[in-house]
Amino acid sequence: MSAEVEETLKRIQTHKGVIGTIVVNAEGIPIRTTLDNSTTVQYAGLLHQLTMKARSTVRDLDPQNDLTFLRIRSKKHEIMVAPDKEYLLIVIQNPSE
């Protein structure tokens, strides 16, 4: 099972335009990353807060709802976050490459 997971992660990394893939656990410690450590830590910390805020917003509007995916499109690239209570899966992609 974990082999499949590894394979998928590798495949994601090789897709067109993908700049980096980060998996951090709930404490902010990176488990898998393809970027350097400082960038990873920065992304993890900032996105963690943003995800919490987004989740809080979603749930405030309807407590039975929950956040499943978060995408931030910026000028240069797109950051996609799949949040969970135990980890954060972050992928940065530049789709126009």
Binding site: I12, F69, K85, E86, P95, S96
Partner: protein, 747 residues
């Protein structure tokens, strides 16, 4: 019990500790007063035997029964025995049965002397309360039990004893009476019992005797006399020798100052934001918690409840928030949930592994991959689905070419906008499939985005193991499912009734069905055990829907296969696939290569494909390795029309599901789209294959204008038909017209 002595300010009087015993008034409120000696005696009168009695009071109760009456005696100045009698003497027999409520205040009435004086007065007027009375007491109230003791404080000492006896005897009698009553009840429950209502005696709750007396009353005279006497006394006092004024000085205790310093009280500011979801979660978990929570699961529930924060409470920056939310939960749900906000997870080391292996993570990865691919392929997919493609505003446009070339381009553009063409969108391929020959493709009947592709060689030599891949449109880079088979796959079909069932026919004659929903790599059923299985390649499998139950069969689908060994078999799904021998196809919709080759001498090579027109039910096309495509009508033994374009074997032909006059064909080097309404001599669109690659199969997409072309390198390319304008008029008529005109011209 009587070891301790109470200390008093008045040295002359000592309080018997036994009186303390009697103060079993003990409700929880009065427990405080047990420490103060005054209060004890004040609160003496008794006892409500409530069940919330504290332990010490109970002990006192019991001991109260056992203590001796007077161990310490008090004498006043004259040597008189003014030992205060215990205010309550519980009758041993009646201890448990009586309910007298006492409701004494904590510091009821100042000093003991005050109390005694008031009690003194009240006892004179104490009335005898009935056996079952309840009295609510103030500082000067009297209980039933205590009136016996109160009166003991009278000057007439002999009275209390007698009265005590009376009360004792009374209580004895009462006890006996109670016993008798019980016996009666047991025997005759149904008897009519008479109840008599009588007026009880008057209860004196408070009696404050008047200080003044009416002139008319009998006592007036004596009172007046007494008053006069007293006035005389006061007058005589002035110069009398009997009365001497003396001053006294009491010793004042030496004052002492004592400083006390306590630890500084630390103040902590706490704040919380009560969000809607926080309250919702707390409420929900509180409701669940009381039902299912045990101390063992406290730990588990702790992190659950703070799961919104997505963190372990031990984390520093969010610690306060989580603590606060837990305390708010704790306060809200009071008793049961004892949260441990700082639960340290014991599985710290394998944590990353757990994450990686969790289902949720896999799911997230899956979704993430799709999202990424959507970003990449969005324009293509939009074109496929015939949606307008959006331009990404952030993409920098390419450098504009010079004027001259632009003109050329524009003219070319104009041309290309007019001519029908195939535009390549994307292709399904991955390293697994490279090198395999695409032999068949089939759309899923329920999910039109799901495509099954079978890989296998057509000819006998060079047989590799077969492969089946299920591709989703949303991920052209990796198949959703991969199944490997022993021999090359020649044909595939999805079942219509059970949309996840895929039937596969193989080069070695075996047939298998797969369940594409599950992740299993093995077929659900295999025909390898069947005795009647095919011995040569299966050219076609198809699920046929039975509309009428023939010979007692249920409505449903059966699998029919056609093979090169000359048999058409119907398969039953039992433990293994089993078949009934040669079956005449009940509806010729079953593609039978063989049945047609028997009847058509015109085609010279093996037919690769026969396909019925979805619009005209008696028209079909065939393609064969003799470089021709032929249009037949069911009733005619010769083909109506034949199409030849190149000198290469035509591997696949398929009618368009949208236009009756359009069909596509694939030969070794190119894809051709024929529109019979436009021309019956030349294909309308021709698209060349990449060099070195042979195109082997063709599939039209059902809802869009796209075709899929499989080649010998394992790629399935998706092309969009552009600018294909088909003639007016209903399609079927057009086709019929063409056929009709052709036939007419042949005559």
């Amino acid at each position: 019990m009587s070891t301790t002595k109470a200390k008093l300010k008045k040295p002359t009087l000592k309080v018997t500790p036994s009186s303390r015993v009697m103060n079993v008034s003990t409700s929880g409120v009065l427990r405080v007063n047990h420490s103060s000696t005054y209060a004890r005696s004040i609160n003496a009168s008794v006892s409500r035997k409530s069940f919330s009695l504290a332990a010490d009071s109970k002990i006192l109760d019991k001991s109260s029964v056992q203590t001796p009456k007077h161990t310490v005696q008090v004498f006043d100045e004259n040597g008189k025995d003014v030992t205060p009698q215990p205010l309550y003497q519980p009758d041993p027999a009646a201890v448990m049965s009586k309910h007298s409520k006492i409701f004494a205040s904590d510091t009821s009435g100042g000093t003991m002397s005050d109390f005694y004086s008031t009690a003194y007065q009240t006892t004179t007027n104490a009335s005898f309360a009935g056996p079952f009375t309840r009295s609510v007491f103030g500082s000067s109230t009297v209980s039933r039990g205590s009136q016996s003791t109160m009166e003991s404080m009278n000057e007439e000492i002999e009275d209390p004893s007698s009265k005590r006896d009376v009360s004792i005897s009374l209580s004895d009698v009462q006890v006996r009476r109670e016993e008798v009553k019980e016996l009666i009840k047991e025997e005759m429950l149904d008897e009519v019992v008479d109840r008599y209502l009588i007026e009880s005696e008057t209860l004196w709750l408070l009696h404050m005797p008047a200080v003044s007396v009416s002139v008319d009353s009998e006592e007036a005279e004596s009172v007046k006399e007494r008053n006069n006497l007293y006035m005389e006394l006061c007058k005589n006092r002035m110069g009398n020798d009997k009365y001497v004024e003396r001053s006294m000085q009491t010793f004042n205790g030496a004052p002492k100052t004592k400083e006390v310093q306590c630890e500084a009280i630390t103040m902590v500011d706490a704040a919380t934001t009560a969000t809607t979801w926080d309250m919702y979660d707390s409420f929900r978990s509180a409701g669940l918690g009381e039902a299912a929570l045990s101390p063992d699961t406290d730990k588990a529930s702790g992190p659950e409840i703070v799961s919104n924060h997505r963190l372990d409470p031990t984390r520093a920056p969010e610690r306060t928030m989580s603590v606060i939310s837990t305390t708010s939960i704790a306060s809200a749900s009071s008793s049961r949930i004892e949260m441990e906000p700082f639960v340290v997870p014991s599985e710290d080391e394998p944590d990353p592994e757990l994450i990686m292996q969790s289902e949720k993570f896999q799911q997230d990865l899956f979704v993430m991959e799709r999202v990424i691919l959507e970003n990449i392929y969005q324009p293509k997919l939009a074109a496929y689905r015939q949606l307008p493609t959006l331009e990404d505003p952030d993409i920098v446009p390419k450098v504009v070419p010079t004027v001259v070339s632009r003109r050329e381009e524009s003219s070319l553009d104009e041309e290309s906008t007019l001519t029908p063409a195939l535009e390549r969108l994307w292709s399904f391929s991955c390293e697994l499939t490279s090198g395999h020959n695409v032999s068949s493709m089939a759309w899923n009947k329920r999910n039109p985005d799901l495509l099954a592709v079978g890989y296998g060689q057509f000819d006998f030599k060079d047989q590799k193991s077969g492969l089946i891949c299920c591709w989703s449109l949303k991920n052209p880079t990796w198949p959703e499912r991969v199944f490997t088979c022993e021999s090359g796959v020649t044909t595939l079909d999805f079942s219509a009734s059970n949309a996840s069932q895929l039937a596969v026919g193989m080069h070695d004659g075996s047939i298998a069905t797969y369940n594409v929903e599950s992740r299993e790599k093995t077929p659900v059923i295999d025909s390898s055990d069947c005795a009647h299985k095919h011995t040569s390649p299966v050219w076609q499998v198809r699920w046929i829907d039975h509309e009428r139950g023939a010979s007692g069969e249920d409505k449903g689908e059966t699998l029919i296969s056609v093979s090169a060994d000359g048999r058409i078999s119907k398969w039953f799904l039992r433990k293994g696939l089993d078949c009934i021998g040669p079956v005449l196809p009940q509806s010729l919709k079953v593609v039978g290569n063989l049945s047609i080759t028997l009847t058509s001498p015109c085609s010279q090579g093996p037919l690769y494909r026969i396909t019925w027109s979805p619009f005209c039910s008696d028209v079909f096309l065939s393609c064969s390795s003799d470089w021709t495509i032929q249009l037949w009508r069911q009733d005619l033994f010769t083909p109506v029309l034949g199409f030849t374009s190149t000198q290469s074997a035509v591997y696949d032909v398929m009618w368009s599901p949208k236009w009756a006059t359009v069909f596509g064909a694939v030969n070794e080097g190119r894809v051709e789209i024929w529109d019979l309404g436009a021309s019956i001599l030349d294909p309308t669109i021709v698209s060349l294959a990449s060099p070195g690659v042979k195109l082997t199969s063709l599939l039209f997409a059902t809802e869009t204008d796209c075709i899929l072309v499989g080649d010998s390198d394992g790629q399935v390319s998706v092309y969009q038909l552009k600018n294909l304008t088909v003639g007016e008029g209903t399609q079927v008529d057009a086709l019929d017209d063409i056929i009709g005109s052709t036939l007419a011209s042949q005559l």
